[in-house]
């Protein structure tokens, strides 16, 4: 059962480009080398759908033991880990605060290796939070697996489906579209898809609310399209 850390950082002014670059060149390789954390996704929230300016990152951990080890070694202000201390303090040139959640991968949720092996990639992503009636999480995740199969027909693929840990009222999913035009096309097509409308009716007694925000991947993150080369930064 893979565990995921999902962090949303509030950026100070125009610091998004600097923070994403600091992550890419600093914390991402360091976290992978020293803690075995694997970056799944990194990028910017799309302000027209979410708070701004913000960045998000999604990390994959092997299991709860790995999670607990990462927590035990998580940075505190006076930690004796010089490279991390320097990066940590410098990062506050760009970011102000963060909000994080721990996600538990559903049985049908692909791991990073699975995503890469099946060629899942894109620039535009949907991050969906589902409010769930307490006690109905397993039932909802079963429904979400069926929804993922319906969404494939609209070229929207599942990056991950998760139970939100440490609460009993939420599930989460990440979806990928090839680009923003495709993301818009998916939204345009939704009301006319009878099967999806039926699916939405089927989960009415299970969900308390759904909210999706969009994110744009930063070039060089693992799910960025392999053939799309650019040196342009996301600002």
């Amino acid at each position: 059962m893979a565990i995921y850390l999902h962090e949303t950082a509030t950026i100070d002014g125009g610091g998004k480009e600097g923070y994403l670059e600091a992550l890419r060149t600093g914390w991402v390789p360091y976290a992978e080398q020293t803690r075995g954390m694997r970056l799944v996704w990194m990028g910017s929230t799309i302000g027209s759908t979410a708070n701004w300016p913000e960045t998000m990152a999604l990390w994959e951990l092997r299991d709860w033991e790995h999670f607990a080890d990462v927590c035990g070694r998580m940075y505190s202000d006076h930690a004796d880990e010089t490279p991390l201390t320097a990066w940590w303090r410098d990062s506050f040139r760009f970011r102000k605060r963060a909000i994080s959640q721990v996600l538990v991968g559903a049985a049908f949720s692909p791991t990073l290796d699975g995503l890469l092996a099946s060629g899942v990639a894109g620039t535009a992503y949907g991050f969906t939070r589902y409010g769930v009636v307490p006690g109905k999480t397993a039932a909802f995740l079963g429904a979400l697996e069926r929804r993922a199969a319906l969404d494939v027909e609209h070229a929207r693929r599942l990056v991950g489906a998760y139970e939100v840990a440490f609460t009993n009222d939420a599930a989460y999913a990440v979806w990928v579209h090839s680009d923003l035009v495709a993301a818009g096309e998916y939204q345009r097509a939704l009301p006319g898809d009878a099967e999806i409308c039926e699916w939405e009716r089927s989960v009415r007694g299970v969900l308390t609310g759904t909210r999706e925000i969009w994110g744009f991947a930063t070039p060089h993150c693992p799910l960025w399209p392999a053939g799309y080369r650019t040196d342009t930064k996301i600002w």
Binding site: E65, A68, S76, D77, R97, V102
Partner: protein, 233 residues
């Protein structure tokens, strides 16, 4: 049962531990002057950047009774009872924190006080802190069930109960804090919580708590000071 002050404090990035040390020094020094230092601080923690809002610190002070709690508030607000040292500390440490949100809480009968926790040797490298939202008017029912059914399952799965508290002046919130001696104890606990093995008591409690719980705000904490500090001895 006893009255505690629970604080969520918005600390300045990279200054959380400086804030907690400054707070502990001021609090312990003031209490020591009145002969009250020993059992007045339950825990001061930093929040890990894993769940919830960050940067954040959590303070839990044991004030024992409403009389003592009122005295503490008088020392800040009552014109004839203000403590000039508190004012000086408060205004001199604005570079360490920007604000916060506090709750006055009342401990359950099955929650140990500071002296009791110390006597039992409760300690942790990591702590699980949950603000539990229940249906209006259901706090007592939830906390009773938690004590009778939840705590035995939780402690069998590797956690230690620090305390379970009713949030005063609210009808829908409780606070639960658990300690894990080592990170691997948290791993075992979480694996059990999400496990499906038959006979898993933790899993049974997880299903049972859905009767009352409507959601939880969870923080994972690292202790800066727990049950004692250099200024609270």
């Amino acid at each position: 049962m006893g009255i505690y002050l629970h604080e969520l404090v918005n600390v300045v990035p990279t200054r959380a531990e400086d804030y907690l040390d400054s707070m502990a020094e001021h609090h312990g020094t003031q209490r020591r002057a009145r002969g009250e230092a020993g059992d007045s601080m339950l825990g001061l923690w930093t929040v890990l950047e894993a769940t919830g809002t960050w940067p954040l610190a959590v303070n839990l002070w044991q004030n024992q009774s409403w009389d003592r709690q009122a005295q503490m508030l008088q020392s800040q607000f009552e014109p004839r009872a203000q403590n000039p040292e508190l004012k000086k500390w408060w205004l001199n440490n604005l570079d360490l924190r920007t604000g916060g949100f506090d709750r006055i809480v009342d401990s359950t009968a099955y929650s140990l006080d500071v002296a009791g926790l110390r006597a039992e040797g409760v300690a942790g490298a990591l702590f699980l802190h949950q603000i539990v939202r229940v249906g209006a008017g259901q706090v007592a029912d939830f906390l009773d069930a938690f004590g009778n059914e939840g705590v035995p399952a939780i402690e069998a799965a590797g956690a230690q109960l620090v305390g379970a508290y009713r949030v005063c002046m609210y009808d829908h919130e409780a606070i639960v804090i658990l300690a894990f001696r080592e990170p691997r104890d948290l791993a075992r606990f979480q694996a059990g919580w999400h496990g499906t093995a038959p006979g898993n008591g933790l899993r049974r409690w997880r299903d049972r708590e859905d009767t009352w719980v409507r959601g939880k705000e969870t923080l994972l904490l690292k202790p800066r000071w727990f049950l004692s500090s250099p200024w609270h001895s």
